[in-house]
């Protein structure tokens, strides 16, 4: 009986520790980033849309449908109150860790999300054209803070 209690206590402590949301740092962050780079497929697919001002504007519009809730209007989390509190934290889309993905990988991430982060898949929710235009927008993000914050956080 005493042994069972000890096991239950240890298990509870383990679960409580494991469930605590903390920012991945140092080695953990590097391992995760390397894993993402290698595991996320579709590396070779090219963006079929030309990177014209029109495409980028379309991407900005499509991005505003719901991506802004976590990534902000500028893709750099401006005004998103919980961006740092997620585990892992919501990355700035202008950061090297995001920009080093190929266009095909970014499309893959938008299509299917990244498990177990909070990034959901948008395939079917957005059209192929909208998703590719978002990839173009991500390659031409405006300066951080230049678009203000999402209306949902400021009304």
């Amino acid at each position: 009986m005493r042994g069972l209690t000890l096991v239950m206590l240890s298990l509870s402590l383990f679960l409580a520790t494991a469930c605590k949301a903390t920012h991945p740092k140092g080695l953990e962050a590097r391992v995760m980033q390397t894993a993402k780079r290698r595991l996320i497929g579709n590396k070779g697919q090219k963006n079929p849309l030309p990177a014209t001002p029109q495409t980028i504007a379309d991407g900005k519009e499509a991005f505003s449908h719901f991506c802004i809730a976590c990534h902000g209007l500028d893709g750099q989390n401006t005004g998103v109150p919980f961006a740092d509190r997620m585990s892992p934290a919501v990355p700035s889309l202008a950061s090297p860790e995001v920009q080093e993905f190929t266009d095909g990988q970014l499309k893959q991430i938008i299509d299917y999300g990244i498990w177990p982060s909070g990034m959901p898949g948008s395939k079917g929710m957005l059209s192929e054209e909208e998703i590719w235009s978002i990839v173009s927008f991500m390659r031409h993000l405006p300066p951080a803070g230049s678009l203000g914050e999402p209306e949902m956080y400021s009304h």
Binding site: A62, H65, F66, S122, K123, G124, M125, L126, S127, E128, E129, E130
Partner: protein
């Protein structure tokens, strides 16, 4: 006498010419065909519309729920119907082929699969 009858004929011709020209012009430029498409989450009805190259069309987009839209750049079509309302756009297809437009106003989880196809023949 000869001059007088010539003047009368010229006068009649001048009076009739505008209406004759108008009729000829109308025959050359027929009234645009109205095509009604109903949009609702997450489909267009009909989902395929047959058009003829060079034939002017008025696309009437009616929404029965939230806002929806259609944009097909190749055909110069860009129209947005407000929630429960309608909007129209006039265009003349100049190229033949199949053109697929997507809903241009985000309308929910199935927005990405909401398509309207224009089949332009000729």
């Amino acid at each position: 006498m000869m001059l007088k009858s010539f003047s009368t004929v010229a006068l009649i011709f001048a009076a009739l010419a505008p209406s004759v020209l108008l009729r000829l012009s109308a025959a050359a430029n027929p009234a645009p065909r109205r095509v009604e498409v109903v949009a609702k989450r997450y489909c267009f009805n009909p989902s395929t519309v047959n058009l003829k190259k060079g034939e002017p069309v008025i696309l009437v987009l009616k929404s029965t729920d939230v806002s929806h839209g259609v944009r097909i750049r190749e055909l110069n079509v860009d129209v947005k119907a407000p929630k429960g309302g309608q909007a129209e756009v006039e265009f003349t297809p100049q190229v033949s082929g199949d053109f697929v437009g997507h809903c241009s106003v985000f309308c929910g989880a199935g927005h990405g699969s909401m398509t309207l196809t224009f089949h332009v023949s000729g």
